[in-house]
Symmetry: C2
Subunit: 375 residues, 2 copies
């Protein structure tokens, strides 16, 4: 009776989906991305991950971590698996119950894959740059604004650096875009933008700046130019004027950067290269024109580059392009683009770090890119 009353009043239903016993004999540690008190998934010292799901009536239970693992059921209806070692940093994953991909109820959720997905954060030696350290911390704000372009209320997330509230200074602004199937939450949660900037600013490796984490979704997801145009209008006609009116921002191209990952990188290419009078810094992470689908758009951009080479090279203080190693799914298309940029005499920087088309790479990209800005 106590149990029932307690459960009802506190809305704290014990979920049947994962075992909660805090058995200290269990190997490894609960993932930091787990729900409070969820003992699974657990991370073993070699970064293998143990999953345990209670599902006595299910016929098949799987975990999709890029690689799909079948769990095995015991006589109590508890399914378990231990994965291969998983690389460090943040990875999306799904729980499949009889073929239906859902978020693991033991995990925090993250908007990716066009739905709220599970995510798991794995340790690795080089992760200090986004550790939660005893340094001054900025805020992340969730800001609603009415977009005349979209004819709807939209939202961005805004990082303000430590001291913004009490200072009278104006700050430069990095506008940054997530990937396809993600939204304005991506850089704040999966990306840990605040921690990366807090640490860089505390170490005086990056200048204090605002980071506007925009919603790049501009209608039905598509590779067509109309989709890129719609975001271009949203950014130039809605977001930038709103940010510059509402916050203490330095005006002028020298104080504006634009960057994005994957689809956000294509949006950055499309809007940034054509607008070097607006943005002096461009960051294109794990991205490129997608061939052959976007070949015509790419050719129009190369023609524009050929006709405006000097202006582009003069205006852009950084045209920073990166890939998550050869295993990045954008790698081949990116190589083709770099060859054309060289041929056209367009200056750029190139950075490659291993990890593929994943958030650990994009966090590291931000960590490398932010120190180059507004110098």
């Amino acid at each position: 009776m106590m149990k029932i009353r307690f459960t009802l009043l506190l809305l704290a239903c014990a979920t049947t989906a994962f075992a909660q016993s805090a058995d200290s004999a269990l190997p490894g540690k609960p993932a930091p991305t787990n729900m409070r008190s969820a003992q699974f998934p657990r991370i073993l010292p070699d970064n293998r991950v143990m999953f345990r799901i209670e599902a006595p009536q299910a016929q098949k239970v799987q975990i999709d971590l890029g690689k799909v693992y079948d769990l095995k059921k015991d006589s109590q209806g508890v399914w378990t698996v231990t994965t291969d070692p998983v690389s460090g940093g943040f990875h999306y994953y799904s729980l499949l119950i009889d073929g239906v991909a859902v978020a693991d109820p033991a995990s925090e959720t993250f908007y990716g894959m066009s739905r709220m997905a599970s995510g798991i954060e794995l340790p690795f030696a080089g992760r200090d740059y986004y550790a939660l350290n005893d340094v001054p911390h900025g805020d992340i704000r969730m800001k609603r604004y009415y977009s005349k372009v979209a004819g709807a209320w939209k939202r961005f997330f805004l990082y303000t650096p430590p001291g913004y509230d009490t200072s009278k200074d104006r700050y430069p602004v990095l506008y940054i875009v997530h990937g396809g199937g993600e939204d304005e939450r991506g850089w704040a949660t999966q990306g840990l933008t605040d921690l990366i900037l807090d640490n860089l600013i505390a170490a005086r490796r990056a200048l204090p700046m605002l980071v506007v984490m925009v919603d790049g979704n501009a209608g039905e997801l598509s590779l067509e130019e109309a989709y890129l145009q719609q975001f271009d209008r949203e950014l130039k006609q809605s977001i930038i004027p709103f940010v510059e009116a509402q916050y203490r921002v330095k005006a002028g191209a020298a104080n504006r950067a634009l960057a994005g990952l994957s689809l956000g990188g294509i949006q950055t290419l499309y809007t940034g290269v054509n607008s070097t009078d607006l943005f002096s810094y461009l960051g294109v992470f794990s991205s490129s024109w997608i061939l052959p689908d976007q070949a015509a758009m790419a050719e129009r951009q190369y023609a524009y580059m050929a006709a405006n080479r000097e202006k582009i090279n003069r205006n852009l203080k950084q045209f920073w392009i990166s890939q998550g190693g050869k295993e990045d799914i954008a790698y081949q298309n990116n190589q083709a683009m770099l060859a054309r940029l060289k041929q056209l005499g367009i200056k750029y920087s190139y950075s490659e770090s291993p990890g593929g088309h994943t958030w650990p790479v994009w966090r590291h990209d931000l960590y490398q890119f932010a120190p180059l800005l507004f110098r």
Copy 2:
């Protein structure tokens, strides 16, 4: 091939869990709490809800909306159900696949029931007070702070009213606590605190104020006094000093309010009644001492009230207590408490609005409580 490349690059996997066809022949409208482009769940004009889940390999699919509905499978493996009419406002719900309760992949997720749960927002005639109107909007900030009390980094969400950034004014502060199985996100997302305050402030019905949406979780969830003590320390020794140092806040009890729902209401009773030198306004929503489990604590509080009646009545400008009608699970315990308060001569206001132990009631509580503050 185009499809595969597109899907990979954009991370925009078409989920198999719900049908996405934008068939205009479908009845009703997609719920506003759905993922972008998810056509189900759909809300019919009489607030019945249609669910449709693709799960050809599942044996049993259910929706738990307080009442549990069994879905029926067609020859394509698509499961459907239409519920009874559901009352207006926000409700948690779960998808059960072969008995495992998970978040519906078609829905936004909300931290409740100690996990990320689905939520559905249903229309009703009286919902204008939290509509997204063309009025000045404040920000919600996600703020990390190091708690010496908890020995860990924690987080609160902070509403700053329109004009906070450009004004030099200092503001009064409402500290507000979620229910059990929820966290600091509850009042920001489920509660729509920013919209409720934006609208009240625009109509000059509430004074501009900060609202600090705290994380009430203080160790392992429990009804014991130690749990309430730990939150008491967190609030008094960590949160309030941090807020008063970091933000432009008016000092003094006359400028501090404390409120909470359900378990947060018990935390408000425990900390607030004993600290009327710190808080001049208390809000206890859908809550009360839980009998018999907390009877000893309740008796200690009544004894304190008897000994300090005049001080409490003089210090508290509002001791505002509410219930979500007789159907609220806290109703009986609350009636018992009100009888004791009367007997002891402790002044309070009581408000009852229908809806039970749910977020529509708590949003309405905030809407009624905020205008009473800091007058």
